[in-house]
């Protein structure tokens, strides 16, 4: 199975090479090749997950001659490989139609397969060296893809911020692996796994991994680059970055925390839990305020990464206290949300891409009424919006419900600090879930419902079948995994056994129909029955009412209390829809201020209304940091103008210093 995945990687490389050929040929070949390669890898991963789960290893003489690259397939990496390649295959099919609408396809085609291959390699890597090299390939190729539309000023700003954050994250990961490998310097994961670092180095590793992987995943306060970079890329790349690349970062987090760093300490879990809750709440609050559809989706990714991180933090806390079944439940909830978010977020980004192709617009205030012009995109986007808002019986609800169950069971934890934190985390998660519904009612209602606000929206044409099909498949998967979450849980249980031991099996009381996390009398849920009952009741209602009451429909102008206004400007806008939320939450979270400049009667100048939102994370966290860096560079600047004699002295002094440190160490 590992060989099948290597074949897929070679196909990606061939695709990358084809991307360098003529544009017409490349557009016809590259995305189809990527789709085939990803499909093959997804099937191989599925076959592994269905098998007995014995890890497969390979050592390839790539890289430096005395440092071969180690690769390994185990349950954890394969679970992520499966979702990565499943989504990538569908996105690539969409891209086959979407790619022709890019401004400069030549800037995307060679890099797209490289990006996919790099993400695969991060998951396959079994030593720190190949992990970091693949990680950097992933960062740099996605950075170049973000720059695809480089003439846009905002894009270059986004790319600059992304590059800085990505390099910062890579340095943090490099240091983390350096500490893990220790003085001996054996960078293979097998050796790291056997070493047992002390508490202080281990805690340092956790902090560094949180910085490195957390910044890539988009955890608050390291999320600043994400809502800039993800929307700036072409839509199919945005779908991959938000849907899958953040998951690769989550993989790195899980790999280090549960596999490499040894036995956890409870307060690691506590900190990760709080970071997750903060990301979930702040991410969705930002999302509700956005008027750019893709930026809105990117902020919602921050929210969902937060939900996943809550699950990871809880699992770590449970594991530290020896509660393996509950740890299994929490980690499973997190992994299930990884799958589900990958599905519906890529669906939503591709839907936004379809809207962009059809109208040329990303600003929701200029759209409207697309449900009439783009029926398939509208229907599939609705499924995605409902799933991400955690509505039963769709998949988003199943995983968020499990996260809630894990939180409710957290009261058995012995640490009082965690006990008191958990209701607050639960509260923040509930707020985030409820606000996500607000956010997506707003996004869907303004973009697809109502009347077209601009002529572009009024004449939009549905996208071709090659773009509609992946949307439909992703929407269908959201429904299927929602009503049968048990199928996915079955696939993921080997991961629990690998990371938490053979006893970590929640759901032992689940049967095909009911999802029972722990005990049947405690809680249970059945998406299938909810789905069947709603379908059955709707059928019954339609039949009874149309048969015995009335079935006639009369079309008439809208009522609107007797004063309908034909101008589309009189509709509710995205900004007016968000106004209550801005009033209730925004005054504290963003220091939101509304200023109204109303001319006196008789004056002819126009009235002016402005909303001022402040980004407190940027002001409180980044600006001081940027000022610090600027100050430090100014201090170091004097070093640039020394004589050669002083440079040599400096070199000598640092050499002596380092040698002294080594001497003292040993």
């Amino acid at each position: 199975m590992l060989s099948a995945i290597f074949v897929a990687l070679i196909l990606h490389l061939i695709g990358g090479a084809c991307g360098l050929a003529g544009e017409k040929f490349a557009l016809r070949v590259v995305y189809l090749l990527s789709a085939a390669a990803s499909g093959l890898a997804a099937l191989a991963a599925l076959a592994f997950l269905l098998g007995d789960g014995t890890p497969i290893e390979a050592v390839l003489p790539i890289g430096l001659p005395w440092l071969p690259a180690h690769f390994r397939l185990d349950a954890l990496s394969t679970a992520f490989l499966f979702i990565l390649n499943l989504v990538a295959a569908l996105v690539s099919v969409f891209a086959h139609g979407y790619g022709t609408h890019d401004f400069e396809p030549k800037r995307i085609l060679p890099l797209y397969p490289v990006f996919l291959a790099a993400m695969n390699l991060v998951l396959l890597a079994d030593d720190a060296y190949s992990f970091l090299v693949s990680w950097e390939f992933m960062s740099l190729s996605s950075w170049l893809l973000v720059l695809a539309n480089h003439r846009d000023k905002q894009t270059s700003h986004a790319a600059a911020v992304y590059l800085i954050m990505a390099s910062f994250g890579a340095v943090a990961l490099l240091l983390a692996f350096g500490i893990l490998a220790g003085i001996g310097g054996d960078y293979s994961f097998a050796a790291i796994r056997h070493a047992t670092p002390g508490m202080l180095p281990a805690s340092l590793v956790v902090a560094l991994v949180l910085l490195g992987a957390g910044s890539k995943a988009g955890l608050v306060p390291l999320h600043a680059w994400l809502p800039l970079a993800h929307p700036a890329a072409p839509s199919h790349v945005s779908a991959l970055m938000s849907g899958v690349m953040t998951k690769v970062a989550i993989y790195a987090l899980i790999r280090v925390l549960f596999d490499l760093v040894g036995s956890p300490i409870w307060w690691w879990g506590g900190i990760i839990l709080l970071l997750g809750a903060l990301s979930a709440l702040l991410g969705v609050l930002y999302a509700v305020m956005q008027s750019d559809l893709k930026t809105l989706l990117a902020y919602s990714t921050v929210e969902n990464v937060g939900i996943i991180t809550i699950g990871i933090g809880l699992a770590l806390a449970f594991k530290a206290s020896g509660l393996t079944t509950l740890a299994g439940l929490s980690l499973l909830a997190a992994l299930l949300h990884v799958f589900n978010h990958a599905l519906f977020k890529s669906l939503l980004f591709l839907g936004a891409g379809a809207v962009l192709v059809a109208t040329g617009q990303r600003d929701i205030e200029r759209l409207g009424g697309l449900i009439h012009r783009m029926p398939v995109t509208a229907a599939t986007f609705l499924v995605g919006a409902a799933a991400i808002s955690a509505l039963p019986p769709l998949n988003g609800f199943a995983s968020e419900w499990l996260v809630f169950q894990a939180i409710l069971n957290g009261t058995v934890l012995p640490q009082w600090l965690l006990k008191f934190a958990l209701p607050v985390v639960g509260l923040m998660l509930a707020l985030a879930a409820a606000l996500a519904a607000v956010c997506f009612v707003r996004a869907y209602g303004i973009v697809f419902l109502g009347r077209p606000r601009r002529p572009e929206a009024a004449v939009a044409e549905e996208v071709p079948a090659v773009m509609r099909a992946p949307l439909a498949v992703l929407a269908a998967l959201c429904v299927v995994f929602g009503i049968l979450p048990g199928a996915l849980i079955g696939l993921l249980l080997p991961v629990m056994r690998q990371l938490l031991g053979p006893n970590a099996v929640p759901f032992s009381h689940s049967t095909g129909l009911w999802l029972v996390p722990l005990r049947a009398e405690q809680s249970s849920y059945s998406g299938l029955i909810v789905f069947l009952m709603i379908a059955g009741l709707v059928g019954l209602l339609v039949w009874v009412i149309h048969r015995f009451a009335s079935a006639r429909v009369r079309r008439a102008p809208a009522w609107d209390c007797g004063f309908p206004d034909p101008r589309p400007q009189t509709q509710y806008t995205g900004s007016s829809f968000a106004q209550p939320i801005r009033r209730v939450f925004g005054t504290t979270a963003f220091r939101a201020r509304e200023t109204l400049d109303m001319p006196a009667p008789g004056e002819t100048r126009p009235a002016h209304f402005a909303i001022n939102l402040r980004d407190l994370v940027w002001e409180g966290f980044y600006q001081p940091f940027i000022r610090l860096v600027a100050w430090a560079t100014e201090q170091i600047d004097t070093l640039q103008f020394l004589t050669i004699r002083r440079y040599l002295t400096l070199t000598f002094a640092s050499l002596v210093l380092l040698l002294t440190i080594v001497a003292v160490w040993q």
């Binding site: 409820a434 209602g445 249970s524 059945s526 429909v553 809208a558």
Partner: protein, 313 residues
């Protein structure tokens, strides 16, 4: 037996929901010194609406026309999961308290979308405010769930009722706070005074009614019946968590009449109390709602913390 009880229960909630609304209206009318419409007037209204043609705006999409069916089905399903006269319900493992709230959330999601579908300003204002209220009411509801789950160790409604019935929990401060928070949530979720006024005729003060302003005929009948069913659902919910007494737990038909009688008694009490409450309080400004629901939210949180403290640090 569980199957028959389930069918009986589903028919019962459907049959009783308009009566409860009629009772609330009657109580309010009597307290205001009017004679008021008959108790069965809501049934007549629904029957009249069902017979009429549905007038649909020219630019309404399929979503507008399917929403009433979806919403009513979701609320009916939710109502059929809350025990009324017996805890022996076939479908009860389908959803626990959290899933139940989310199911009602689905209904609201689609109602709000339908409010935006025509592209009128009243639909938008209603949808936007309804979602704002929900964004505070749902977390408050979760805090109540947290309290109950901490006390009883379960979020399954049947298990909660049976636990309260069979074990003596005593008088708990946390439970009392949870009850107050749940009542506040129920008032907000059902659009009652002081959050929203179901009888208002002034569009700018409407929340729920503004959202469904474009509906008529059978569609409106379903939306209205759904709202009535939701009121009944919340009364049953408060009943089965905080006052489950009289309910049949054995799953035997011999216990059904007693369960039914106590259920009817609870509904009547709740209907009269709601009427009393609504006439004694004035509607609040829409941006005071956040203070009201924020209060419910913190009350729920406080109940959890108190429960920790009372169990000994």
């Amino acid at each position: 037996m569980a199957f028959i009880a389930q069918i009986l229960h589903m028919a019962l909630v459907l049959a009783l929901a308009p009566l409860l609304t009629g009772l609330v209206r009657k109580t309010k009318a009597r307290l205001l010194g009017r004679r008021g419409a008959s108790l069965v007037q809501p049934y007549r209204d629904l029957a009249r609406l069902l017979r009429k043609d549905a007038v649909v705006a020219d630019n309404a999409s399929w979503l507008f026309r399917t929403t009433p069916y979806l919403v009513f089905a979701a609320i009916w399903l939710a109502a059929s999961l809350v025990p009324s006269f017996t805890t022996d319900l076939l479908l009860s493992p389908t959803a626990d308290l959290i899933a139940l709230v989310a199911l009602l959330g689905s209904a609201r999601f689609f109602t709000a979308l339908a409010g935006l579908d025509i592209g009128t300003s009243f639909g938008g204002i209603g949808a936007s405010r309804e979602m704002m209220i929900a964004s505070l009411a749902e977390p408050a509801m979760l805090m109540v769930t947290f309290t109950v789950s901490l006390l009883i160790g379960s979020t399954s409604l049947v298990a909660i009722s049976e636990h309260v019935l069979l074990h003596d929990l005593g008088l708990r401060v946390s439970l009392g706070m949870g009850l107050v928070a749940l009542v506040m949530v129920a008032v907000a979720e059902n659009g009652r005074v002081p959050i929203d006024n179901p009888a208002t005729h002034l569009e700018l003060t409407m929340v729920h009614e503004a959202m469904v302003l474009e509906y008529s005929g059978r569609h409106l009948a379903l939306i209205e019946a759904g709202a009535m069913l939701k009121l009944l659902l919340y009364v049953s919910l408060i009943g089965c968590i905080f006052v489950p007494w009289g309910m049949d737990v054995a799953g035997h038909p011999a216990g059904f009449p007693q369960g039914l009688a106590s259920y009817l008694g609870k509904l009547a009490t709740a209907g009269i109390l709601l009427g009393l409450f609504e006439t004694s309080i004035a509607k609040m400004r829409v941006f005071r709602v956040s203070e009201f629901l924020g209060g419910a939210l913190l009350l729920g949180l406080l109940a959890v913390i108190l429960l920790y403290v009372s169990r000994g640090l």
